[in-house]
Point group: C4
Chain length 256, copies 4
């Protein structure tokens, strides 16, 4: 079984696309943005990524239908006034193991190599740990050009203040090693609930940078749906979590 | 050492068998069903699976006889009124590591490929975390056909409420990727004891779906035996667990 | 880097040797027995095993001399009245990761394949978690013949009461799969200190089974030395452990 | 993706260089020494090491510029009165996984094989867990010659008192296996803050052994900068750590 099995659903030609990472993370900020963009901007799914580094489970979706843990690649052609092509990665999970994070991100960049990616934007939340009014959108970038671009749209740069963990960090870091540069947009969020306001902030900055229009009205609604789904899941998983915390990973042997 | 070493004990020909997963998990529900079916339905063991992803130990069985951690494949020919063939997987463990779960399940499906599996049913418990009267049998499925089949026999479908962790989830998820569909039957159970009542509920729904008769009288007895065995094991392992929790996995270096 | 790098120090021919496992574990019982046998019975080291699955560290020995984490193979020729040849494995560690345990034990058995091992004995402690008077020697075995042999010398068999974790379990389990059988001798011990009394019990049962004489006078002395060394190590490592428990394995990044 | 990807920035010829390990660890002692030596002694970076065994993240540096987790190799030619050549490894991380520690250190020693390393010195802190006046520099070595060398400059040898965890231990241990010997210098430090005093002690002993002059005035200043950077990072990461401790490594799936 390969570390990342990529299934191509549609062969597509794109013009030096921008790559946007929006996998689930802190406050579900990136994931909310992704779901909203997919719906509002007529994004088309063209590939799925499956990996033994993902959590060893399936999800129970609407009406009892089982869903695999996956990452999905969407494309959007001719976006906004600049008419840029976009590839966006989202999904219901990230790799569970630290080295899995590296390996899967690297495999995805290998796969995207044929598309000749021009820039990378990664979207996420930055946890404040407490309620926050008027959440800011913070940024970091992998070259000076993108630092300037972020500043121009009013993104406040983080500085010498720690890391960006997971896919939002690694796609930029691995990209740098290939000569592809970009930036990370992080919405401030308490981190312990689905944060539509934070997601809206991030989305509007991205729209500003990439020069496209997007209606954010339904973001609240979408956040509400996600909240309800996670609440049900949380109740059901609470016992599992309690047992897992008591016995650590070893307890997995009794879960099934 | 391969991730899964499969030893074939008997070459057998089966007619598009149904694959049933019943490995140990929450409340030992699946495992109880498996043990009962093996005894009552004259199941024959035809293969054993051994893996370095299993817990690094052996079990001390009856009278001091040592047993390896294994998964076992049984077959039942011509089951019930429909005369279906069945392959059932059970055993004393599941893979310990997350990626081990994926890899071992995938290897087993590869091995079963020759048998041309028609459908997959996975059996387990769903933890309520507290005592429960009249435990329900909940379900989820990997295609619409199986959702309908479950509903017809009165299984209540879960919906948008979290995951199915371990082999019960992965066999269905990996099966879907091969075009083999099926369902998961989950008995509600407090989760912290061997639950014969929950197992009986699951078994009867399965019998209903697959159209076979089975006497469940001895399920209670079997649960009692399992309870006693685990109680002895628990007492002996308590100290190990305490030390493991104190020092985490690193403490393994002192266990031996 | 291979999972187990075996360095042969001396080519030796042995006559269907008995393999004895005595790596560090609960109460240091096995390790104490090994150290004592090496000294008293003129054992000769003939191979060293080194592995990336061992803890990522070196030990500071006498006078500041650094020692690698290793397993060591010793031979004893013509032992006792039966004149049997023996290969004994001991060392300062066991594999840290669960799959590492399997893989390293399997590699060692592969290496020992040329010697045509006749039987396997594994030595360890079984934790009582509290002070105990007159600790018993408990046993388990991988075939009926060895169960009888243990009973004949007054070893009390464990039964249906849990597992034998680590090398003491796996060498017997992996041995069974190769058609080599044997037994595990486990001295009862509180588990939280170096237990010479428990080690003496195990050693005397082993001597009884293999029909050799051994003076156990210096076992107490040896236990005292080990106690002092571990006390110094414990004091120094306490802070590391506290930090590791606080931050889990991730904290390793700051240890160096 | 290889376990260690080494990018050579400059081909350099060195005369039997001494290898110095100074990666981040307890009290940031080794790292502080490395940063100071790089600045004061005109060290030149000639290679970078990148690895999927490093933490799966990037760092946000000055002004929002993203930095990969890396190890770096520097050379210093003709150092001190003896005119020795030096290769020093430093960086912003060590491998996260235990076997990653072994594998990456081994790969680096393989790479350094061409340089014909003469000796190895590893630098770090040894945690006291509490405030300490006049911190000593403790030592350990992989041969008698280096034990004598350490004693001559007043380094107090540790003895039978535990391990040296991580790269500081493994480079010496893996070196021994290749016939390259050396020593570890460890400054006593409380372990929970950036300790310039401890670093100065270690640096002066190293200078004494290798016979070079170095101004340590700016060490305090450098420690202060590091302290501020880590304080900012700590505040931002506190929430992440809390969540990670609550849910263990599994929680990684929600970080991104």
């Amino acid at each position: 079984m390969k570390a990342a099995e990529i299934t191509v659903l549609e062969e597509v030609e794109l013009n030096n696309p921008i790559f946007i990472e929006a996998l689930p993370g802190v406050g579900h900020v990136g994931k909310l943005v992704a779901d909203h963009m997919v719906d509002e901007l007529d994004a088309t799914k063209f590939a799925e990524i499956y990996s033994p580094t993902f959590p060893p489970q399936v999800l129970v979706g609407e009406g009892g239908m089982i869903e695999n843990m996956i990452n999905e690649l969407y494309y959007i052609k001719d976006l906004g006034e600049d008419g840029v092509d976009v590839i966006m990665i989202t999904g219901n999970t990230q790799s569970l193991s630290p080295d899995g994070q590296y390996i899967v991100c690297e495999e995805i960049l290998d796969f995207l190599g044929d598309f000749d990616i021009s820039r990378i934007f990664t979207l996420g939340g930055v946890p404040t740990g407490q309620p926050i009014e008027n959440p800011r959108v913070l940024g970091a970038a992998s070259d000076e050009a993108h630092i300037e671009i972020l500043k121009e749209v009013g993104v406040e740069m983080r500085s010498n203040d720690g890391g960006i963990v997971g896919a939002s960090g690694l796609f930029l870091g691995l990209g740098m090693r290939r000569g592809i540069y970009g930036a990370c947009l992080m919405g401030e969020t308490p981190g312990y609930f689905i944060d539509a306001e934070s997601a809206e902030g991030v989305l509007l900055k991205l729209a500003d940078i990439l020069n496209f229009e997007i209606n954010t009205e339904k973001l609240d609604e979408r956040a509400e749906e996600t909240r309800e789904m996670l609440a049900r899941a949380q109740q059901m998983e609470q016992d599992l979590i309690n047992r897992a915390n008591a016995g650590n990973a070893d307890d997995l042997r009794y879960i099934g």
